[in-house]
Point group: C2
């Protein structure tokens, strides 16, 4: 993309309305614009990051065997009356009447809608296990929306729902998602530490929050540093349904959960001190980026979602649900990874991976070299951002840094005359001179 044709409103000043660094940087670097309290327009640059995160989340859901569908934002109140949640949910649910005075709501979650889908079509144990997910906008009418996309009202969530014939199989579905989440967050450049959690308005028997460390996190967290050791992206995890795969999943999850990890809500200091050697104790603040639940027949029973079992009898489905805050992750990643110059994107989600800074737009030699690099990088499948604007060098450097382009190449008249470009690493701020032909080879 040529910056002169892009829409990237970068601000020099830190916006006064933002209290935390991710919100400040998302406004300054032109990712979002507030439309109303807790509701945002995703500007082109922000949308690019959001889609990159969404893509990884989707790939890992697909890998785990979950199937993607798409539920509407508008849900009928009748389904929520069946489950009993319509009256229970409280003021966070956005209640709406249509022109015929029928009660609807903007889905804050979708257990009822998906259970209705499954009870309509699924008749037999042969169609199970089944896990259906979607990535869709949700609305929760927070009393005081704040911290930008971290606690917004309209937000993008990945929500998956598992359906099984019995509790054993449902717990296996839970473990599949548990492992898929460990992979997902690590691919995003984060450590999502699973912590035992209260079940809240979703309900149920078993629940874990996945939490990443960040100074501005909403909860205090305590965990064993073994959570930082394992590379889940290279761990071989089978998501097949044979017995050996199931046992392997159980062993992996049990091993993970043997180590201590808790938020302040569930923290037991004595246990923490007793079970975690001093050098492995980690304390800090954390941000919830995922939450998984096993809740058995909480929805399937009142909604009468049953299948015929092998035994010729009807069985009420056993369910779980599994959320990832996709839009929230954009803020969480920035909280976890930034410096005084701006955002530092983890490689896998960086919205542009090569920045081209033309120090003298209009100078024929500079323009030609920049265009050559731009065309070559584009042809090689990189996603370059070329600052071809007529701007001061300082402003160009600041823009590349605040938006966090991981690798930047700087082209100026003197360098071009000497056959040299400067290559900068955004994270380390290290600059190295390279011969032009060496640089061109490096992106080939």
């Amino acid at each position: 993309m040529r910056l002169s044709r892009y829409f990237l409103p970068v601000a020099k000043e830190t916006p006064s309305e933002a209290q935390i660094v991710s919100h400040q940087l998302m406004l300054r670097a032109g990712l979002i614009k507030q439309q109303q309290a807790g509701v945002y327009v995703w500007l082109p640059f922000g949308l690019k990051v959001l889609r990159n995160i969404e893509k990884i989340v989707r790939e890992e859901q697909d890998r785990s065997g979950a199937l993607e569908l798409l539920m509407p934002t508008m849900q009928s109140a009748d389904l929520w009356r069946e489950s009993g949640r319509y009256d229970d949910y409280g003021a966070e649910m956005l209640r709406i009447k249509d022109r015929h005075e029928r009660d609807m709501l903007f889905g804050p979650t979708a257990e009822e809608v998906v259970t209705d889908v499954v009870r309509t079509y699924i008749r037999s144990y042969k169609d199970l296990p089944l896990n259906l997910y979607n990535i869709q906008w949700k609305f929760r009418d927070e009393v005081r929306p704040r911290f930008g996309v971290m606690r917004g009202r309209e937000f993008l969530m990945k929500d998956a729902y598992s359906f099984d014939i019995d509790a054993d199989s449902a717990v296996d579905a839970y473990r599949k998602m548990f492992l898929a989440y460990l992979r997902t967050f690590q691919r995003l450049g984060l450590r999502g530490v699973p912590m035992r959690a209260a079940t809240g308005p979703i309900g149920g028997d078993l629940s874990h929050e996945f939490i990443i460390l960040a100074k501005n996190g909403e909860s205090a967290v305590f965990y064993d540093s073994v959570y930082e050791d394992k590379d889940w992206t290279t761990t071989d995890i089978s998501f097949e349904n044979d017995d050996a795969s199931k046992s392997a999943r159980k062993a992996m999850v049990d091993e993970v959960l043997a180590a201590y990890a808790a938020t302040d809500e569930m923290h037991e200091e004595e246990q923490f001190l007793a079970n975690v050697p001093e050098d492995r104790r980690r304390e800090g603040r954390g941000i919830e980026v995922g939450h998984i639940f096993f809740f058995g027949d909480k929805y399937s029973k009142p909604m009468n979602a049953k299948v015929m079992g092998k035994d010729g009898k009807e069985h009420v489905l056993q369910m779980g649900s599994y959320g990832i805050g996709v839009s929230r992750l954009v803020g969480a990643v920035i909280e976890a990874s930034h410096d005084e110059h701006g955002i530092i994107w983890p490689t896998e989600i960086a919205p542009f991976n090569l920045g081209i800074v033309n120090l003298k737009s209009g100078d024929t030699a500079c323009d030609e070299l920049c265009k050559k690099i731009y065309d070559l990088a584009t042809a090689k499948g990189l996603d370059p951002l070329y600052d071809d604007r007529d701007e001061r060098a300082g402003a160009k450097f600041a823009t590349m840094d605040v938006i966090g382009v991981p690798k930047q190449v700087v082209i100026g008249p003197r360098g071009v005359a000497n056959g040299i470009v400067e290559v900068k690493n955004r994270k380390t701020q290290e600059k190295t001179e390279m011969k032009i032909e060496d640089f061109l080879k490096s992106i080939e």
Copy 2:
């Protein structure tokens, strides 16, 4: 995808609640499930088609130079009060109060929100021309939603908004979208014929509907068959902003519009007969799949969206807006392309491009050959659907046909013994026998 692991609820019977063939087939072939009147769950198969269409629409918007952003579904009423549309819009607008009794609405369109974005950041003629688009769910509270996704309430729309310094430049932006639409619909396997249109609640000076022919179309249409001649997908269209490109665009659009095309609303029989030779007269019914508008300062003036011009003076922005009904297109494609067996997908949007029918699941030789074909097709980047279920042959054939897999290979014990498979063309229903090795080569 293996059908045994997929969620594809195909029904034998034509559902009684559906009046038109696209709605019937979308229910029968497991694309959608109604959640409430005019609101649908997109099941995995339907979502796959929807995403394929969305992808082509996006590629052509990007090609034209438009930039993608994402606006929220919830919009504040205040912006609509600024433009004067809050009171004008009528009962189709879904009006909502949040917990603090603030007025919001579920966006039926987004002129106000995008104008607010532009007035916030764009200051100078140097930042123009600018065209911002998004693909987002909209809501229009139809009195009588019907015909499935063709006249739903919650629907997916691509809406683009152009901003220019003066009317000349804005008309050029209009022409860019006009040409992009011709390309888009043709890539979808359709002919979108541009017809002069009334401007309705969007308002404005210049407007065209893009209409495809279909028996169940909502309007009668009359046009010159020259609209069916040109291949826009291979026509070289420059979307650059130099004068030569602008002139070329004007010439192309003028040539298109010289031919007659009108819906019954705007039809003038005398002109039609006078200007179109008898053998080129086309009459029928059509479905609107796109609508474009140029409306000057209708929104920018009341909302005070101005930029500094070259002349050092402030200019009120000139705007246009450009919609494509993305979810509606799924129904429109089916209306335009089906037979008594089911859906016939145009190649570019077919959700699976190779069907593998195992006539005897459980038979070692059949299973092995099917798996070999499946693995090879997958490795070659095809998207095969393998019917590995324990079902009657008739049911398997009917499933492949109703969901419209363009090419199907049938593997049975007798064929395998003789080194032969049967290959079926969904559209022509033609079957040919092929040697196994020849078939394998054909997908390599």
